[in-house]
Symmetry: C2
Subunit: 273 residues, 2 copies
Amino acid sequence: MKPLRSLINGRAEAELSVTSRLQYGDGLFETVAVQDGRLLLWPEHGRRLAASSARLGLDPVDPMALKTEAESLAAGVGLAILKVVLVRGAVGRGYRPEAAPTDRVLTLWPWPSGSRFKKRAPVFWCETRLARQPLLAGMKHLNRLEQVLAQREFADPYWEGLMRDTQDWVIEGTMTNLFAVERGALTTPILDQAGVVGVMRERVIVRARELGIGVHFDRLTKDRVMEADEVFLCNSVIGVRPALDLGRGPRRPGPITAMIEEALRGGGDAVVL
Amino acid sequence: MKPLRSLINGRAEAELSVTSRLQYGDGLFETVAVQDGRLLLWPEHGRRLAASSARLGLDPVDPMALKTEAESLAAGVGLAILKVVLVRGAVGRGYRPEAAPTDRVLTLWPWPSGSRFKKRAPVFWCETRLARQPLLAGMKHLNRLEQVLAQREFADPYWEGLMRDTQDWVIEGTMTNLFAVERGALTTPILDQAGVVGVMRERVIVRARELGIGVHFDRLTKDRVMEADEVFLCNSVIGVRPALDLGRGPRRPGPITAMIEEALRGGGDAVVL
């Protein structure tokens, strides 16, 4: 599968130099939902890129230029996924960063289809653990071998795998963030040691508070997640999706999950299908 | 700086598709010293690639084809570095691996020069810690953000930075393995939680035993390393290099380090300059 369109540093190209620091995973990415030419949650994606760029010490990217490039790829598109990758500019060989403009790699992809995205599909508990690394925690960086290994563990009918860290705390899905609903309030894992602070996770927190639903941050065990009244997963593409089967038999979609989902769609945070 | 030559899947190309799974750091690499057209320690590099490919579940690469490609790049070359990158083959978007041939990316680079490789240059103690992740430990994989962040911490005159893990055990340099000499025997860190099992580290162990020098594997504290009689670092490019300044004043090159260095050069394991 090839992208529908791509832009590398503003040029309609589809190839990268063999010298790219992608070879160290030395960069960041965002996965942006596009509907009717609109880039959903673009300000949030842009803020995360800027904040993580500063943490990694990447040469800053002009946010207006990046937005213009993203909009040009999304123009006239009904439903698609825009992937934005920022890679530290390469000069020589070796790990040491040198002063060079950050590379911008934008690709537009068809909207996903198929059973992995079916609403009633179960989720899997992965054995692959996330390392605890506060220097990288929270960022959507390009060192993704743990997620790749975790995704090797499961296949259809599972649409997502849940990951714990090396101390067995539940952190997130391979491509989603997790919320547990307990006595009417949300709890989502603390992501100071591992995990990605997802853009949709941030929106869920905002929308929940607008609805008067409490939001807590905590360390969650697998047992606690399995015993929660409702569990849902979220990301920029799927919005919110109930986790209906966590290994203790199927559940029904819950009312809090439905309220959050409706608020996100109504607020323009998530795609309306 | 561009590579002197490059081969992608056997073709003399220098660009990669934007769909490459390099964007997840989903692969492995080797850094091979080339002298007079000869690929130093090629069997050892090849064995490590094969073993790590199996751990990551990469589609196996034909070792003879890879060797032929490497030799063709190295032919007629006096002194150079050959970088071999294997990347999981890409099919679609997303973390999940799909059946596809592994991409082979070979680049030939000029031999490094300059002050970073001066023999008497000091080494730095990095604050960047390595995460503990047994699923990735030992492999020379492409998730190298920790090394990039560590290399941002120091500059000339330091030629290398030493890294500890998140439990403060000394693991390795950003691009080298470490040996401490204590009472005539070598100790090198256990690499079951973090670090790269270096090809030159393996050769040092073999050569030491041939010389009747004991080799131990242990967890090492910074204090123990600083108090060792001798400390040396090694990799496929530099061979063995004494660490003469670990923050407690300069040392002289030690006799055990010199014996190991001579044995490696004499045995054809390391470049003779």
